[in-house]
Amino acid sequence: MSSFANPAAQRPGDVAGTLRLLAFLALSVVLIVLDHRGGWLERLRATANVAVQPLWQLAGLPSRLGQTVREDAVTRSLLAEDNRRLRNDLLVMAARQARLQVEADENARLRGLLGAATRHGLDVQLAPVLNVDMDPARQRLLLDAGSSDGVHVGQSVIDAGGLVGQIIAVTPGTATVLLLTDLDHAVPVSISRSGVRLVAYGIGRSDRLEVRNIPVSSDVEIGDVVVTSGLGGRFPPGFPVGTLVDLRPDDSHAFLVGDLRPSAQLDRGRDVLLLREGRTRAPEGAQPPADAPPAVSPDAEEPAAPPAAAPAGTTAPERATPAAAEPAR
C-alpha cells in the first residue's frame, strides 16, 4: 500500500522510524548493560525462564528421541555383552571401593586424632544434560532436572572426571550450570602434590582454565593435578579440576601463569552428578572434642562399614556419621 517509492512521502516516516530505532537501541543497550553488570535482572530472568522452558524441552526432544531409538535398536547380544562388561567393571570398582573405604576409615581416624573436621562422603543425584546448544560465547549447560527434583542454586556439579561447574539458575523443570570455563567463573584450588593454594579462572574456552598469580618460587610443575581446595565454602574439597599443561611468566615477570586442561568432560556428556551438600559439616566439627578417647570411638562407629557397604559406599559414610554424631553431643 505505502510501498511506492515516493521520496516526498517518505520524509515523515523516516524521522519516526529513526526515533523508534533509537528508542529500541537504547532499550536493548540498557538491558545488555543491566544484565552484564550485576544481576539486577536475575528475578526477571528467573520468571521468564519458566516461560521458555517448553522451547528447551522441544529443542531437546530430537536428540532424546534419537537416543531412545538407538537404545531400542541395540541387539540382544550387544546388551548381553554390555551387561557382562558392566558387571565386570562393577566388581573391579567394588573391590577398589572397599580398599578406598579402608583408607577413608583410617583417614577419618587420623583426622579424629588431629581434632580436625572429617571430610564427608558423597551424596549425589544424577541429572541428564538437556542437549541444547546455548550461546557459544557463554559456557553454560542446561540440565533436565529442576527445583521439583530438589535441585537448588549453588550446588556443585561433577562428572566422572571431576568438577564441571555450579548451578546458577533453577526453574521447576530445568537447571542452568555455569561451567568452570565461563569467563565469570573462578574456583579456589590447590595443587594436590604440594598443597599450594591457587585460584583457577575460566577464560571462555571449553578446553582451558587459567591459574594466575603463582609466585615464581612456589612448588608448581607442569603435569601437576589441581583439585578443589574447599576454601570459600562453595565447592567441597578434593575434586579434580584439571591438569597443569603450561606454565609461563606473566607480564610483570613477578608471577607465573598456568594453563589447566579441565579433567571433566565439559563439552558434551550425557549425564552429570549434582552434589547434595552434606549438612554434616557443623556437627562433625563439633564432634572430635566430644569423644575424649578418639582412638577407639571412630572404630566403634562404623564397624560394618568397610567391606559390606562397599557397593553403596558412596553414601554410606555421610549417612553413618550424623547418626553417630547426634548422641555424642
Binding site: L21, F24, S28, I32, R45, V52, W56, N131, D133
Partner: protein
C-alpha cells in the same frame, strides 16, 4: 484477504526459528548454523510491514536471548539494527530478483556478525571461533527456499 488469514504464521515461524537455533548440532558444524531467527524476521519485515517492524524484531530478539542464554538484549539489538536497515531499503529490496535479494540478506547477516563481534569486544566477552563467520553464507543460500516456502504457505501470488 488470504494474507490476513495467514498471520498466525508469524508467531509460529518465530518460535520454530528459535527452536531450530537451539537444536544441538555436532561440534564441527556448530558454527555454520544459520541465524534462522534473522531470516524469519527479515521475511516478515519485508512482506508484512504493517505488522512486522522494529517491535517484532525487538520482541523476538528478547525471547531468543532468554532461550539461548545470551545477554538479555543482545539479539534484540542485533535484530533491531537489521530490521531498521531492511525497512529503509524495503522498497528497493522488494523489487530485486530473488538471487539479488539473497545477496543483500547475506550482507545483512554479515553485518550482524560484525555487530556481535563489536558488542563482544566492548563487553569483554570472548570472540566466537572463525567458523561462525561462515554462517551468513549458509543463511544467504537458505534465503531463497525459505522465501519461496513462506510464500507457498501464505499462498501469495506474485507476478515474476
Amino acid at each position: 484477504m488470504n494474507r490476513r488469514g495467514r498471520l498466525w504464521l508469524l508467531p509460529v515461524s518465530v518460535l520454530v526459528a528459535i527452536v531450530l537455533g537451539l537444536l544441538p548440532l555436532p561440534g564441527p558444524v556448530q558454527g555454520l548454523r544459520p541465524y534462522w531467527l534473522a531470516l524469519v524476521v527479515a521475511y516478515w519485515v519485508l512482506e508484512e510491514p504493517e505488522h512486522a517492524g522494529l517491535g517484532l524484531a525487538f520482541g523476538a530478539g528478547l525471547l531468543a536471548d532468554l532461550a539461548f542464554g545470551t545477554l538479555l538484549g543482545e539479539q534484540a539489538l542485533r535484530l533491531v539494527i537489521m530490521a531498521f536497515i531492511l525497512q529503509r531499503f524495503r522498497t528497493q529490496l522488494r523489487f530485486f530478483p530473488l538471487p539479488q535479494q539473497a545477496l543483500s540478506i547475506g550482507g545483512l547477516l554479515l553485518n550482524d556478525r560484525v555487530v556481535t563481534a563489536v558488542l563482544h569486544l566492548m563487553l569483554g566477552l570472548p570472540q566466537l571461533p572463525w567458523t561462525y563467520w561462515l554462517a551468513p553464507l549458509v543463511g544467504m543460500v537458505l534465503w531463497v527456499p525459505l522465501f519461496l516456502g513462506f510464500d507457498a504457505l501464505r499462498q501469495v501470488r506474485r507476478p515474476r
